[in-house]
Amino acid sequence: MPIDVRPLSSLRGGDEPSFGGKSSALGELLAAGIRVPAGFALPCEASEHFIAEAGLEPKISAALQRARGGELAEVTAAAHQIAGAMRAVELPQAVRAAVAEHYRRLAEDAGDAAPAVAVRSSAIGEDSAEAAFAGQQETYLWVRGADAVCDALRDCWISLYSAEAISYRAHLGGERRAAMGVAVQLMVDAHVAGVMFTCNPVTGDPSMIAINASWGLGPAIVGGEVTPDDLLVSKVTGEVVRETVSQKLIEYVPDSVAGAMERREVPPERAGAPCLDGPARAALLELARAAERHFGSHQDIEFAIARTGAPPENVFVVQSRPVTGVAPRVGGVGAAASALGLVMQKFGAGGA
């Protein structure tokens, strides 16, 4: 069967059931004119197609059957067995051909025979937030060449049957579809990477952008390996309202020889230096405003600033999802409150 692989730029919110939340959100960002690294997406059915074509269903069912008791050792053993089985077979020809073709186009556009890409899982359904907890949102960075992309793709699919994922689906109960989309994106050789919220997630202040940033590629921050620089920037004026510069002791950089990432120490003189300059802050602020405006809700955005070029052109959004867990601001004024009533309250002279 043909596999419906698509450029990220062609996806929209409505494609979420087929391509997963991450891929469709990236498509939306591109549609909104926000700088997102180019890439393509595989639909959920590709993972199911792989399992069906390789005849893995009986093995998987049997392994899951043995893990039904929920004992950790049994679940782990089942995950191990399934991973082994999935790794032992070739990906379907249709998948490999489609990946090769889209990777070639990406390479052509990037002007690089084997550009580094990020391979990210793109979970479906309302559970995508919990899916992160369940380990279903694997990301493989700095992947080069179509064959390596296919390996990473397989690893994403294998993560559908990680011990955590199996337990999680068992916890939810019923028949759960074990499927996920995958996004393949050009990798930004990030000088600085980080995360930002389009509100202050601590106080809920909607007039602020909260930014965490550190040297190198994203994992240092996302994985919690460094204490990042912490900034609060006014959406209204662009002023930095609060800034804490931390000692950012390690960073991830691409290792061109091994074709992967290298974790290394940051020299002391750079570790304590602020990693975002004025133009970078301004570019991030613009990206945050655009993303919030486009989605109509507060966004949790991963960004990367390329080693080459200058802001705003070298500042990219690599992921954006709705902010969860921020309490809405409450109190201060009742629906019927008047200005005068509030002044009276201030002087301790009763309600409105």
Binding site: T237, G332, V333, V343
Partner: protein, 609 residues
């Protein structure tokens, strides 16, 4: 006074503060009720007192106590007896080693608070609902008061009374006229203070309510953005400096700007200008500008040291000279008013759009109310603190001159070393002996007292008052303490920490940006000539009279004040980083030290020992 009881809190007990050597007996300058007395020890020692360095930065002269009594009588009357602000009565003061400490009287009984709420709603509501009309009447009242002050006749004491006194009906003799004038002068001062506080509390209250609503829904909003949304700079208080800038531009336009050379006296400049037609045109413009705009004071303190620009033209002339230099190079020019107004409206619109739907209506109404009341909050200073008060001190000086002419004082200026009641007593004797032709004792009695007090004030000036004394409360709740002095719970905790030492000071983030530079500690407006280009100003507080220096400095740190203080407003206007209300910057920082001012975070770091 010099007891050895240990401090009860982070701050010293008022009863443990020692009198500096050679200053024994300083209490004689002040009323019996103005000191920490053993009879009130059980309550006074448990209260929180902070040094009001904003209004009383130097040891207080005896006569000037009237500018403590009268304002606190007035503010207490309005707050406690007229509007009956439910949780707060008035402000008490005590003097320690010549410095004025204040403390508010809270209302704690819930029934009493409820009772007062009824009065407050009715009376304050009337003011808010009729603000523009009432404020219009207020201006008329103030202008009439100033006119009466100017018209007050203080007769000399003649050898023989005028012919009319003898030959016409209804004439008074000089003894009565002098006593009447003195009494009337004191009453005019009281009346000014009454007017001063009529609107102030309500004005600040509306603003504080708006600020609080902003912070409820936008918890991280910088204070200066709230201030910016309310205050343009089109208020009266900025007119004098704006007029100086206009006069600077006019001098350039007329081609007479070369006359303005740094270091020249106003008389020298005027002499050069008077020699040509263009210069004379400029001088005519200057004359037309003087009334009322040169009724600015040279400082913000409530003591007689502060003169008006009319009395001391060196300050406006230095300012014009500075503005000319700035306008020639085009550097450091102040943003045009329209641009500031556009930015104000843009901020309001952007923040308004971020608020929850149901809050927007009340929020916009409160912003409108704050903008309505704000001109008063700013303008009362020009009418009362500057225009009236500088004229008023000069009328007091006339009584000093009268006493000096009759040998009661060596110099007319010495009248400020006597209490207002002592002046009344001395006038009684002077008029008695003038009338009887008898021999007065005053010339022997007063000069030694004056000399002693001058020496006391000089010695007390070397003492460093702690920012606070007594027991700090868990929380500062008094609205006036917070609104007028910027003394918040955080600020008091910071003072307590600094009491233990440290190379960093915290205050209110008043104007954003960070700057490093050399500190210039300025204790009074008379020292502002020392400031060099590019230094960071460290002072108690500033007033519009300090305008000339803002085109020279790189940043500002003050001991006292909130984000609505003069220094904060002007620094935002000039784009200079500022931290205000640090408590003791002038004590901890020395001229010549390198410091860093972070006006965004409200932190001042001392970088060199």
């Amino acid at each position: 006074m010099a007891s050895t009881v240990p401090a009860l809190s982070a701050f010293p007990s008022p009863y443990s503060i020692e009198t500096p050597a050679g200053c024994e007996g300083w209490e004689e300058m002040y009323p019996y009720y103005a000191v920490f007395d053993e009879h009130r020890r059980d309550t006074d020692e448990q209260r929180f007192w902070f040094w009001n360095s904003m209004h009383f930065p130097t040891p207080h002269p005896a006569f000037d106590v009237i500018c403590i009594d009268s304002p606190y009588q007035a503010v207490g009357s309005w707050q406690n007896r007229v509007f009956a602000v439910p949780p707060a009565m008035g402000i008490d003061y005590r003097i320690v080693n010549g410095y004025v400490y204040i403390s508010s009287n809270p209302v704690t009984d819930p029934d009493k608070i409820a009772e007062r709420a009824g009065y407050f709603q009715r009376r304050a509501g009337h003011y808010y609902q009729n603000w523009p009309e009432l404020y219009g009447k207020w201006r008329t009242k103030m202008e009439a008061l100033i006119a009466e002050l100017e018209a007050l006749r203080i007769p000399d004491l003649p050898e023989y009374e005028d012919e009319e006194v003898a030959l016409e009906d209804g004439r008074n003799t000089a003894f009565y006229e002098v006593l009447d004038a003195y009494g009337r002068l004191l009453r005019l001062g009281d009346l000014m203070w009454q007017h001063h506080f009529e609107f102030l509390l309500l004005g600040y209250g509306a603003y504080a309510t708006f600020a609080e609503l902003c912070k409820t829904h936008l918890p991280d909003i910088p204070d200066q953005h709230i201030a910016q949304m309310v205050a343009g700079i089109d208020v009266l208080l900025f007119r004098p400096d704006a007029e100086l800038r206009r006069l600077a531009a006019r001098a350039i336009e007329l081609g007479v700007d070369d006359a303005f050379v740094e270091g020249r006296t106003p008389a020298e400049i005027e002499a050069e200008l008077g020699a040509g037609d263009a210069g004379r045109a400029w001088l005519a413009d200057l004359e037309a500008t003087k009334q009322p705009w040169f009724n600015m004071a040279t400082g913000d303190g409530l003591t007689h040291d502060f003169h008006s620009w009319l009395d001391d033209p060196s300050i406006p002339f230095a300012s014009i000279t500075g503005h000319i230099a700035a306008q020639r190079t085009g550097a450091r020019s102040v943003r045009p008013t329209e641009e500031i107004e556009r930015e104000r409206d843009r901020l309001a619109e952007a923040y308004g759009a971020l608020l929850p739907e149901e809050v927007r209506g009340p929020w916009r109404d409160l912003l409108a109310l704050s903008k309505t009341v704000f001109p008063y909050v700013e303008e009362h200073k020009f009418y009362c603190d500057y225009w009236f008060l500088t004229r008023w001190w000069n009328r007091v000086r006339e009584f000093g001159a009268l006493m000096a002419r009759h040998g009661f004082l060596e110099d007319g200026e010495d009248i400020f070393q006597m209490t207002r009641h002592e002046v009344a007593t001395a006038l009684d004797e002077l008029l008695l002996t003038w009338a009887t032709g008898g021999r007065p004792l005053g010339p022997q009695h007063w000069p030694p007292i004056v000399a002693r007090r001058k020496q006391l004030l000089e010695r007390l000036a070397h003492w460093t008052p702690p920012p606070a004394i007594g027991v700090a409360p868990a929380e500062i709740t008094d609205p006036m303490t917070i609104m007028l002095w910027g003394v918040t719970t955080e600020r008091v905790q910071e003072w307590a920490r600094q009491h233990d030492g440290g190379a960093e000071l915290r205050g209110a983030a008043a104007s954003p940006g960070t700057i490093e530079g050399i500190a210039r500690v300025v204790r009074g407006v008379n020292e502002i000539a020392d400031i060099r280009e590019g230094e960071i100003l460290v002072c108690g507080s500033t007033s519009p009279a300090w305008a000339p220096i803002f085109s020279k400095i790189k940043g500002t740190v003050t001991d006292v004040g909130g984000v609505m203080s003069h220094a904060a407003i002007v620094c935002r206007e000039y784009g200079l980083p500022a931290v205000v209300g640090t408590g003791r910057a002038t004590t901890l920082i020395h001229t010549g030290q390198r410091i860093r001012v972070d006006g965004t975070a409200g932190v001042v770091a001392i970088l060199e020992p």
